[in-house]
Symmetry: C2
Subunit: 295 residues, 2 copies
């Protein structure tokens, strides 16, 4: 029998992503020797134990990480820094610290400060998710055919990068490496801005007169319901994303606002050609998404 890729893995923060990763690992016997789930929420720990999602479940992060070969932080971003400050000094020589956060520059900065010289930091971001939260919502196939972006620095230990890359590939993900700042720009437009817009438009509907609001729900099948699904995502996670990717989000939002003003003007002045042209160009990008098998 070959030895596992990772002997002792700790997943700290066991929500949608953490529990999906654990479920996926369970489907590949021999990939990981032992999984410890860490969560500070007693209700989450109860679910983890009832569903046997990990070999071990605890709220004692210090005890969990001292023998770990790999620790993956899978909390909302605001918890990464304080949790990293506890975990970092306890890491054994050669251990790898990673994460799954949707913003990478701030995580890289925060965790680099607490990772000891004898350990390795390999920040990661699996581009996958659903609008649901909590360990009960995890899906074993969540990462299949999706991308995971790793943002090590040029001097990160290559064997450590390959271990984390190997874990994500084993659960079905494609893996790519990228500069953290570039990652944050790409995600600002593909993820952060769409979520901000969805939250906004659903919020605008919440504020409507009562007579309109109930009908907005009733007739939501016409486009609005897709936005309500996106806007059902975890508010804590998303607050943290916007606070930690401020510059890139504000830049992309500025571009969007300019483009929206141009369409608003075209509607006001009845410029059908402008509308048709813009709509046709947007339609074409859908083909690219389908061809890239991300539809």
């Amino acid at each position: 029998m070959t030895s596992p890729l990772i002997n002792r893995l700790v997943i700290a923060g066991f929500g949608l992503i953490g529990s999906s990763l654990a479920r996926a690992i369970r489907n590949h016997p021999g990939l990981v020797g032992h999984i410890t789930a860490v969560d500070r929420d007693p209700a989450a720990l109860k679910v983890i134990r009832e569903l046997s999602l990990a070999d071990d479940a605890t709220d004692d992060v210090a005890a969990a990480v001292k023998d770990a070969d790999v620790v993956i932080i899978a909390t909302p971003i605001s918890a990464v820094e304080p949790l990293g400050a506890v975990i970092g000094p306890l890491l054994k020589p050669g251990a790898i610290l990673s994460d799954v956060g949707s913003v990478k520059s701030s995580v890289l900065r925060d965790l680099a400060n607490v990772t000891p010289a004898h350990a390795h930091l390999v920040p990661g971001h699996p581009i996958a998710g659903t609008e649901n939260s909590g360990p009960q919502s995890g899906l074993a196939n969540l990462f299949e055919g999706r991308w995971t972006i790793l943002t090590p620095t040029p001097d990160t230990d290559r064997a450590a990068v390959e271990t984390i890359a190997g874990l994500w590939r084993a659960v079905g993900s494609n893996v790519v490496e990228m500069d953290a700042a570039h990652h944050d720009k790409v995600l600002a437009i593909t993820s952060h801005l769409p979520h901000l817009i969805a939250y906004t438009i659903v919020g605008t509907a919440v504020d409507l007169e009562d007579s309109l609001r109930s009908e907005v729900i009733k007739f939501s099948a016409s486009g609005f319901r897709d936005f309500t699904r996106i806007a059902a995502s975890d508010p804590t996670m998303w607050r943290d994303i916007f606070l930690n990717n401020r510059e890139a989000v504000l830049e992309m939002l500025q571009r969007l606002t300019e483009d929206l003003s141009a369409l608003q003007r075209a509607i006001r002045w009845g410029e059908g050609d402008v509308l048709f042209d813009r709509f046709s160009r947007a339609r074409a990008i859908r083909r690219g998404v389908i061809e890239a098998k991300q539809a």
Copy 2:
């Protein structure tokens, strides 16, 4: 054998909605005696004949409608007025003229002008669709569990309204009557604004530097792909909607812009509480959509 609800039905404009209606009717033998499909596009007529989507397919609208009991116009809105001007004078006594357009005030005005006193006008809007276009894209179950809004005036013949309502109910739709102007306000926020935003954000991505754009497609699973799906909808149909529902769309867009500015400010100044509060309120409306079985 009981007589059909409608003896001779003409569907003028045989795209996604028209062909879905015909397919749904075919699944309910005895509902309609004879369906004539009218389309000016030879390629569409070819598909209709090959797939046997109607009893008859023609580009000669005048010949088709003169014996019709019900004519449903299912073209983009810009074609409704010219087509109505041809159809109206040819309608036989007691015939019913209806449509499926996403804007109702302008359609009601245009068609009321051409409907003779001996015929009945019952504008309608089935709240259903996909991002695909053309007769080959129709789905027999497209209207099941969805809503169809009818916007007759107070003096419209009730038997005519009941015939159109009965047709939509028979293909699985719930039916509600509404004032045309109110319909246009509700749809501005549930449908027209979401589509405008989706077109805008996808357009903003199209304009990115090449290095970013290819990655936007690659990593679209993070929220963006839902917008590309919405933005894949027919550009002609949507141009017409915005040109014909200008006032309501501009009003809702103004509200959205104000709300977006408030969130932009909260991000810039790091006001996490504001973001969390707004996101939490938006999340709550998702439950309403699920409870209303429109998810």
